[in-house]
Symmetry: C2
Subunit: 344 residues, 2 copies
């Protein structure tokens, strides 16, 4: 599609045809895009299904994220929900509402981002819906296959279990803080260049290669990379409860504590904090604890395992399950920010 062509120029059916041309075939779809509905094969007779909405200005900003970033993020947060049940993500449905004067290439680049992330997860795009709206909104549904395993819910944690995570903590929140600070991911970051507010990285004590690390945080905010394989692997290893960390580690573990009627006690010295996160906190004078304990959107997986379980690759222990209720850090109730409420 040429530059300057809008979705109105293509029309609904032209836009759908252009989107479909980007979608790789998938043999697990007995019916793919282009009919009233798609048909996905799930040989064990159970399908995992989840949906999320993404609203421009709330879940993404077009000045902070390119269209492919938005596509990656939209796919990732839904595919991660499937993995958090212990299932293999299989396919997405894409609902897209957008202004008629939006560049068609924005939509197609967004779809390319979704395809990229779906490929990382082993999933396809089975169909969807496009319609006009005043701003961009995405309604994404992900479907997955338990492949004969039982789903891992939030209800099965038992006192004595260990608590473990797979994936990144605090990266997306640190990247968002950097973007809010006016620090864009630019070429000059890579060699210790200038901040948007005029300060030199070196003046702030950032090492010469620190720009790379900061750019990686911004990239992590734009394109979360959930550890999809860790979900089915945890289910196979006997995980008793699991979820994806979308609102913040303490907030989300609170759901396991509540639904399983247990207390989750984290040991802060077991939570590994990545070097780039520490670097960004130093630069911004921020507390990385907030990012790690309350930052969402990295879509790490958190789970509980029986004490004797052998944890799969990528999982590390961060605490234990006790009788009681709530989430503690080193035995104490936290008093920091606990997560994200979409209406507050």
């Amino acid at each position: 599609v040429e530059a300057g062509i809008t979705v109105a120029d293509l029309g609904e059916f032209g836009l759908i045809a252009a989107i479909r041309a980007l979608l790789p075939p998938d043999q697990r779809l007995s019916i793919g895009p282009g009919d009233d509905a798609a048909v996905l094969l799930v040989p064990d007779g159970q399908v995992v299904a989840t949906t999320d909405l993404l609203v421009e200005g709330r879940h993404f900003r077009r000045d902070w994220s390119g269209p492919a970033d938005v596509g990656v993020k939209a796919a990732a947060q839904n595919l991660a929900d499937v993995a958090a049940m212990g299932a293999v993500p299989r396919t997405l449905l894409l609902g897209l509402a957008c202004p008629a004067d939006l560049a068609a290439e924005w939509v197609l680049d967004m779809v390319r981002g979704m395809v990229t992330e779906c490929r990382r997860a082993g999933a396809s795009i089975a169909g969807g819906d496009v319609t006009a709206a005043d701003s961009i909104m995405l309604g994404i549904t992900a479907l997955g296959d338990l492949a004969g395993q039982d789903p891992v819910t939030r209800r099965g944690a038992r006192p004595g279990d260990v608590v473990a995570v797979a994936g990144r903590l605090g990266w997306s929140a640190a990247g968002l803080a950097l973007l809010r600070h006016g620090l864009a991911e630019r070429g000059d970051l890579a060699d210790g260049g200038f901040l948007a507010d005029g300060g030199d990285l070196a003046d702030r004590g950032i090492p010469a290669d620190g720009g790379h690390a900061l750019a990686a945080l911004i990239a992590a905010h734009r394109r979360p990379q959930p550890p999809y394989e860790a979900g089915p692997a945890a289910a196979a290893a006997g995980a008793t409860a699991m979820l994806d960390v979308s609102d913040g580690l303490l907030s989300d573990l609170g759901h396991i504590a509540e639904d399983s009627e247990v207390c989750i006690d984290l040991q802060s010295d077991q939570i590994t904090v990545s070097e780039p996160v520490v670097l960004a906190a130093g630069l911004l004078g921020a507390d990385w604890t907030d990012w790690v304990l309350a930052g969402g959107e990295d879509h790490a997986l958190a789970a509980t395992f029986p004490p004797a379980a052998a944890l799969p690759d990528g999982w590390s222990v961060i605490g234990t399950v006790r009788a009681g209720s709530g989430v503690l850090v080193d035995g104490v109730v936290g008093n920091g920010p606990l997560g994200w409420d979409h209406f507050r």
Copy 2:
């Protein structure tokens, strides 16, 4: 929830809890609302999946439709897509974006409407997502079960097949025209009362009980009632192609003609026009042909059957399939409005 309570007052988790309290249990859900994803049992190992977005001001108007109407319509248009594959609708996922100051009761009444329509179709609500936005948007996904039958696509129509429909044609379009004309569905319609523009129904030649008929059209626009059972019944009777009429009969049959590489020839004298539709056309000086041939949103089902097939209850023949391409009416290419493009 008391009057005056907004979704922000309840908060994201309070709103979700209030919604969940309205949802009947469903034994086909091995995991229902409240986890990262739902799990639906589909014993034959195939799941039918479709998604649609509904945007306030485009797909519904809050001054023309109450919240329960919006819920019925949102559910119906997705459940109809499942039935149009020959499947039994099983469950919905509800994505809801809305302003923080929206009355919580609006949301709950909308969900009650969805539950009502789901019950009519034999389906449940398995989960969803709520988030804030400047206006109301729904992202609905419907999942269905083929129960061992093969899906009926748009590709299988063959020359010699008959074309048939089940459900209403032109009702929703007539109801919308009445609403656009300022004719609301009021008590005084029932006894031949006044139009909103000041004209008396009797002055327009509407019989004394005509108000009931006009009100039924408006109700049909607000709450489409797709003939869900007709979908699996058509599949069992050997339907060769099927879809739901969402954009208009000619436009949607055009998809079967194109995908099946055939010509669809409708016989106008076989298309039954309902009395209320004729009445409304007379009142508004409109051509009911446009409503019947090009009006969408009733979510009738249209299908092709082998010539020897015994049509199930509710299906009536309206034409034949020939070699060729396109959609004809009485052998002639139509020149009227052909349907709806969301971006034009």
